[in-house]
Amino acid sequence: MSEAAAARIPEVLRATSISLAAIALALAASAVLILLAGADPLVAYWALLQGAVGDGFALGNTLARTTPLIFTGLAVAFAFRCNLLNIGAEGQLYAGALASVVIGIYLTGLPAVLHIALAIAGGFMAGAAWGGVAGYLRSARGINEIISTIMLNFVAIFFVSYLVHGPLAEPPGFFHQTAMVAESARLPVLYAKSDLSIAIFIAVGFALVTAYVLWRTPFGLKLRAVGESTGTARFAGVPVNRYVFGAMSVSGGLAGLAGTTEMIGGQYRLLDFFSPGYGFDGIAVAFLGRSDPIGVVFAAFLFAALRVGANQMQRTTGLPTSLILVIQGMVILFILGVAVLEWHRRRRRG
C-alpha cells in the first residue's frame, strides 16, 4: 500500500466507527419503540437479519435492492463532494428510467450487448440532463440547487405519471404502465427468484470508477477543490461554474442509472410512482457512507437489508415495516450528532 493510502486509514476508521456507532444507537432507540409496541426487540432484529441475509433468496432480494441505492447514494455523494446538495436524485431516477424504457421498448432488433449499452447510456444521459438543469440554474442563474431539485423531482414524477397514463401506456391502455422492454435490452439475470441481475456488478463498478475519479484524477481533485472553497479553486484557474454544472450533471446521470437498472434489471416496465423513494434514500445512504463511494456501497447494502428484512420482521412479530424508516431517520440524526460532537471534541483537543 502506498504511503498516501496508508495516511487515509485513520480517517476511514474514524468515519466507519462514527457510522457504526450511529447505527447501534438507532437500533437501540428503536428497540424502545419495539418494546412499547409489545414485541421483543431481539426477536424482531433477529427476524430482520434472517429476512435480509438469512438465505439465498433473502440475500438476493437485498442485493437487488442495494443496486438502485448504490446509484442514488453515489449521485448524492458525488455532488456533495462539490458542495452541492442534490435532493433531486428521485426525479433524475425517473428521467433515467423513462429514457431506458423508451430505448428498451422502441429500439428493437439490436444485439443484446448494444441494446443494453444504449439503454444504460440513455438512462445516464437523461438523468444527467435532468440534473444538468439544476446545475445550469445554479451556475448560470445562481439558483440554489436544493430548491430547484426539490421542484424538478415533482415535475419528473408527475410527467412520467402522465406518460404512463396516456402516450406511453401499454396498448390497449387499461393499465397505467408501459409495455415491457425487449428481451435484448434486459440485463442477464443472476437469480431469477429475487430479480437479481448483473446490475449489482454494474453498480459496484460505477462506485469504483467514481472513487477513482474523485481521488485519483485531476478532474476529481478540482471538483473537490470547488467543493471546499470556490475562491481558492477560482484563483487556481478552475472554471468553477463549469465544474458545478458538470458535477450536477454527473450526479444526475448516476441517479438516472438507478432508474435504468430498475427498468432493464428486473421491473422491465415503467409504472406510476414505481420508486419507493430510492432518490431520497440516496441522501441518507450518502451520509451514512460519509460521501465516499466505497462507503456508499456498504451503506446501500445496509439500507437495502433493513428494507428487505422488514417484511420478515413484520411476519414474525407483527411490527409494521415502517419501523425501518424510523431506524433510517434515526441513523442520519445520530450520524449528524455523533460527527458533530466528535468534531468538537477533536477541536478542543487540537
Binding site: I143, V155, G166, S322
Partner: protein
C-alpha cells in the same frame, strides 16, 4: 367558454380556500423559520406527525380542538429535534430535514398501526365541521366562499397579518431578520441568534403542525399513510414564490390551492388538461419564478449556515 363558467362557482372558490389553508399554515411556519436563517425541508414529516397526533388527540380526548392542540404541540416537538440538530449541534440543515421526513413518514405509519391496530387504521375521529357565520354566510357568492368554512381557515388567514406585523413592525421582527441575515451583527448588540433561531424553528414546527392537524381533522377525518402528499414541499415552494413575505406566501398558497381544486373541478367540467399537469403546477410555477427573478434575492443571507458562538 362554458368550461370557464363552470369554474366560476362558489364551491370552486370555497374549495380553493379550504385547500390553501393547510398549505398556508405550513408556509407561514416556513417563512418564520427561513427568515431566522434555518431551512427546514422536514416540514413534510413534521406535518405527518402532527396529522397523526391530531387524530390520536381527537380520539382519546374526544375533542377536535384538543386534538388539534396535540397536533400543534407535536409539530413543535418534531421541529425541536431539527432545532437541536441543526442549531445546537450546527449540523447540516438539509440532512437533518431529510432525517425528519424519514422519521415522520416511518413513525406515523408505525404508530397508527400499533395504536389503532392494523384493521382500524382509518378510524374516523371527532373532527371539525364547516361553520356558517350568521348573516354573512347568506351573502350571495361571497357567503358560501368566505363564510361557510372551518373555523381554522379564519385562524390561518388571520395569522397572515399577525405574522406580517411581527416581522416588519416589531423589535422581534428585527431580531429575526438579523438572525437570518447576519447573526454576528445580532450577537454584537446582545441578541442571541441561537435562541432566536430556536424560537422560530419551534414555532414554525407548531405552525406546520397546525397545517398537518387541519389536514387530518378538517379534511380527511382520519389518518392515512403519506396523507400530507408533498404539501410540506409545496409550502417551501410557496414561501419562495411569496418572496419570504407572509402576504406573498398567502397569495402563493391561494394560487396553488386553486390549482389543486382545479384537479377535481377540471374533471367535473371536462377540462382537457391531464391532472398530472395540475399536480405539477406549483413546482413549475415556482421554478419559473426562480428563473425570472434569478438567484439575486434568494432570501436571508445566512440561511442554511450554522451559527457558532466564538
Amino acid at each position: 367558454m362554458e368550461m370557464f363558467f363552470g369554474l366560476l362557482d362558489p364551491d370552486y372558490f370555497a374549495a380553493t380556500i379550504r385547500l390553501a389553508t393547510p398549505l398556508l399554515f405550513a408556509t407561514l411556519g416556513g417563512i418564520l423559520n427561513e427568515r431566522a436563517g434555518i431551512i427546514n425541508i422536514g416540514l413534510e414529516g413534521t406535518m405527518l406527525m402532527a396529522a397523526l397526533t391530531g387524530v390520536f388527540g381527537a380520539w382519546f380526548i374526544g375533542s377536535p380542538w384538543l386534538g388539534f392542540a396535540c397536533g400543534v404541540v407535536a409539530g413543535a416537538l418534531v421541529a425541536w429535534i431539527h432545532a437541536f440538530v441543526s442549531i445546537s449541534l450546527g449540523a447540516n440543515q438539509i440532512v437533518s430535514g431529510t432525517a425528519i421526513n424519514l422519521l415522520g413518514l416511518g413513525l406515523s405509519s408505525f404508530l397508527i398501526r400499533i395504536v389503532f391496530g392494523l384493521k382500524e387504521q382509518q378510524r374516523v375521529v371527532p373532527h371539525f365541521d364547516l361553520v356558517s357565520l350568521p348573516l354573512l354566510a347568506d351573502l350571495p357568492l361571497l357567503g358560501p366562499v368566505l363564510f361557510h368554512q372551518h373555523a381554522l381557515v379564519y385562524v390561518a388567514f388571520l395569522l397572515v397579518p399577525v405574522l406580517w406585523v411581527i416581522l416588519y413592525r416589531t423589535r422581534w421582527g428585527l431580531m429575526i431578520t438579523a438572525a437570518g441575515e447576519h447573526p454576528h451583527a445580532a450577537s454584537s448588540v446582545g441578541i442571541d441568534p441561537l435562541r432566536v433561531r430556536y424560537a422560530c424553528t419551534v414555532l414554525s414546527g407548531a405552525l406546520a403542525g397546525a397545517g398537518g392537524a387541519f389536514l387530518s381533522l378538517g379534511q380527511l377525518h382520519f389518518f392515512q399513510d403519506e396523507m400530507v402528499a408533498g404539501r410540506g414541499f409545496i409550502a417551501l415552494a410557496a414561501l419562495i414564490f411569496g418572496r419570504w413575505n407572509p402576504v406573498g406566501g398567502m397569495i402563493a398558497c391561494l394560487i396553488f390551492g386553486a390549482a389543486d381544486a382545479l384537479q377535481f373541478r377540471g374533471q367535473a367540467v371536462g377540462l382537457a388538461i391531464p391532472h398530472q399537469f395540475m399536480l405539477m403546477f406549483p413546482y413549475v410555477l415556482t421554478l419559473a419564478i426562480l428563473i425570472v427573478v434569478g438567484g439575486k434575492s434568494q432570501g436571508p443571507a445566512a440561511i442554511g449556515i450554522p451559527y457558532r458562538r466564538n
